[in-house]
Symmetry: C2
């Protein structure tokens, strides 16, 4: 079988593939620091050269910031756009690194060989898994099983300021049948995973206002209302005793998990005790009738991110403050509409506002949840391919946060995305001594080789 | 009658008394600013000279800060200690003064003649009402009707750092049958008043702690508990829907008003709409079954003075904070015990603390309420004397705040105090263009002359 030959080629060529990754890791492409602008440029050039060497039509494309790399390889069957980023995080505190961050090296550890260096996992090692998979297919068959485009960004670690404008200006060129994003990890470092749902968000920043000025609590305490009490009451009433959010209609557009996803998640046997234990907690504190994975992946949330009012310095000032403020964010799922959630929140606040008090909202911002349609056969094909490669079967998983790139592909280009990555929880991305397991690099490359084959079927 | 002669003397000598007050007001005795140290000393000297001139045995007494003035005049009958302070507030913002703050002058206004200048009302004008009353008695009769000591402080506007040590070191000399404190005002600028109850205080500063570090709300939101929610819930539960405080046993030692006091307060016809309207409010927000005057004078309170937690800067950080804090003060009345209130508060917090969360209290501070025993006949005699002088009958009133000096007289010297003053709400103490009404100065002097006579009976 062709695929077996491709996989065998990957196994045989692993040392050379590793050397190429080490080359890329030696380029200190720190996007946020202008001192490394030439290095970012150099990393883009390196990738363009690699891809052109593989037969892609690759080019470096200028932006007002660091350049993009775009490459195309014709082919039949479905068209995929692969995304990764070649820029890396800064390295401070440098003194905590055991080896120089841009002198990458292989290292034997208790858990196997790792590739140590800044960007090894985030995201140079990950993006090279796809490049090496393409190389193996080209080497063995002279072509790729499907039509492939590649899109590398150099500003992911500094807020992606050029990304959406570049997508808009090059929409036709960048649009494919589906996007592949390799910037995530294995579930619990072991289970291959395709992220199919990302929570959306609504943010609220508001101030309760009462008296025209701060009042002396001796002269007015017990007679005048206190905005901190009112704010606390409003916050306390956002959840009921079972952890449910009380806004009117809040759960109207929240779907239940499909039986298939529920079953997959049960099989993941999420170690919530360990997950909470890592941060000094032990008890799941959310909706009492939901599993921990649902709480962080598929259920909407309401969290106060900040609160302030009155005197907060040293000592005491017995003031009855004129106002009190909070920042609240809602994570949205399913079809929850950010505007409707905002309106329900405004109503909740106003319904709990006594006479004499007013509320001021700073404009709320929101984005809906992303729910990938796994009806697209690419998902099941990829999941099977991942399951074939790894010891444990692959699962569709959720992600509690937002991954902006996935939303941009959907909003700007109308593409669903499959988020597939091979990072592990202990990769120390953004931290000193970042590493990528040789297993992640090797089996990640083999995974993409399998997925390319599967998508061609 | 002798008193009539004394009062006539006061009337006749008012211009000269006013000139003396203007002399004192010209001394810029700003206690908080070291640049005025010599001026504070000069003000003390001026008072010593005045009092020695009246036949008192007066002396300036050094402290580590500004000097005290202590003076004695022998006599029969009860022994009173009169307290006032010769220091004044700073004058900034100077540009808002219509006349130089230390060039005091008489000014005709719509509401009558006023004495304009820093310290006119707080407290030089007030303390001189007593000195001038003594002068008139001396002039007409050659002596005072009772035994009088005088105690002037020069650090009241800068926190009275020397006061308690000086009291402790001179306890025997300063102890009298009752203290007279002239540093308060007429009720609603019109009704002469003796303050007989001052609220006490307990302050609480505490932090709710959860996870070992701030968490990403995308990764942990909905699963991990949020200290801001818990703090809000604890605060929301401090009051029930009728405005009562929910701590166990909180009202155990809160007395009901006597029929006499209740009747006096009803007669005051407190304009709570105007009082609240001045600060942009309209609705009494405290205990629903209490009158506005009870709310601010005779009922205990619980007010959050400050709250903070999480991200409070510009924009958004979707953090789930590791901790959240608040400062809460309780105003105490009657026999409420600060320690018991603290313990009940600690219990309330702990009872509402979910698993995984802890609370840290910074040491709480407290002082019980002061309730003067009006059984001492000095109170009724003084109230009658004030009623004889002013168009409206005098009342025993409460004070929502704490006046530390009254507590110190009670705690250090074991003396009750009568707080009687003639300031008006528009005197602008601590502000630009401070003034003291000539009516306050004149009728204040006459009031003390009457009280000295009444206490001799």
């Amino acid at each position: 079988m062709t695929l077996d030959a491709v996989l065998a080629h990957i196994d045989a060529e692993l040392p050379k593939a590793t050397d190429r990754l080490l080359d890329l890791l030696r380029i200190p492409s720190i996007s946020t620091d202008p001192a490394y602008k030439a290095d970012c440029d150099r990393a883009a050039d390196w990738l363009v050269d690699e891809l052109n060497g593989l037969g892609f039509d690759a080019s470096k494309r200028p932006t007002t910031g660091h350049p993009m790399v775009v490459a195309h390889n014709d082919g039949t069957g479905p068209h995929v756009l692969f995304y990764g980023h070649y820029d890396v995080q800064p390295v401070d505190p440098l003194e905590l690194w055991d080896t120089p961050p841009f002198e990458p090296a292989l290292e034997d550890t208790d858990k196997g060989v790792v590739i140590r260096g800044r960007g090894a996992s985030d995201d140079k090692g990950q993006l090279m898994t796809f490049v090496e998979a393409c190389r193996a297919w080209k080497a063995v068959t002279g072509s790729l099983p499907i039509r492939v485009s590649i899109f590398f960004e150099g500003e992911e670690e500094s807020g992606s300021p050029s990304l959406v404008p570049f997508m808009q200006q090059n929409a036709k060129e960048l649009t494919a049948d589906i996007a592949l994003i390799c910037d995530t990890g294995l579930f619990e470092s072991a289970v291959p995973a395709i992220t199919t749902q990302l929570r959306g968000m609504v943010t609220e920043d508001f101030t309760i206002k009462g008296a025209a000025r701060d009042l002396h609590s001796g002269m007015y305490g017990g007679l005048a209302g206190n905005p901190i009490h009112i704010l606390s009451d409003i916050i306390a009433k956002l959840h009921d005793e079972t952890g449910h959010i009380t806004l009117e209609g809040f759960y109207d557009d929240v779907p239940e998990l499909s039986d298939d996803i529920r079953s997959q998640w049960q099989n993941l046997a999420f170690d919530h005790a360990g997950y909470l234990g890592d941060v000094g907690l032990s008890v799941p504190a959310g909706e009492q009738d939901r599993t921990p994975l649902e709480m962080i992946w598929s259920r909407p949330t309401c969290e106060v991110n900040g609160i302030w009012g009155g005197y907060t310095g040293d000592g005491f000032k017995t003031v009855l403050p004129a106002e009190a403020s909070a920042k609240i964010s809602f994570r949205l799922v399913g079809q929850q509409d950010p505007d409707k959630i905002h309106e329900a929140f405004v109503k909740h606040v106003k319904d709990n506002l006594p006479s004499d008090f007013t509320v001021e909202f700073t404009p709320s911002r929101g984005a809906p949840a992303s729910q990938m349609s796994t009806d697209n056969p690419a998902f099941e094909k990829s999941r099977q391919a991942l399951s074939d490669e790894w010891p444990r079967p692959a699962a569709y998983v959720g992600c509690g946060g937002s991954i902006p790139i996935a939303g941009h592909f959907k909003e700007v280009l109308g593409m669903d995305a499959m988020l597939i990555g091979f990072g592990k929880d202990d990769d120390a991305i953004h931290s000193p001594n970042e590493k990528y397991d040789m297993e992640s690099f090797h089996k990640g490359t083999r995974s993409w080789a399998r997925i390319l084959a599967a998508l061609a079927e």
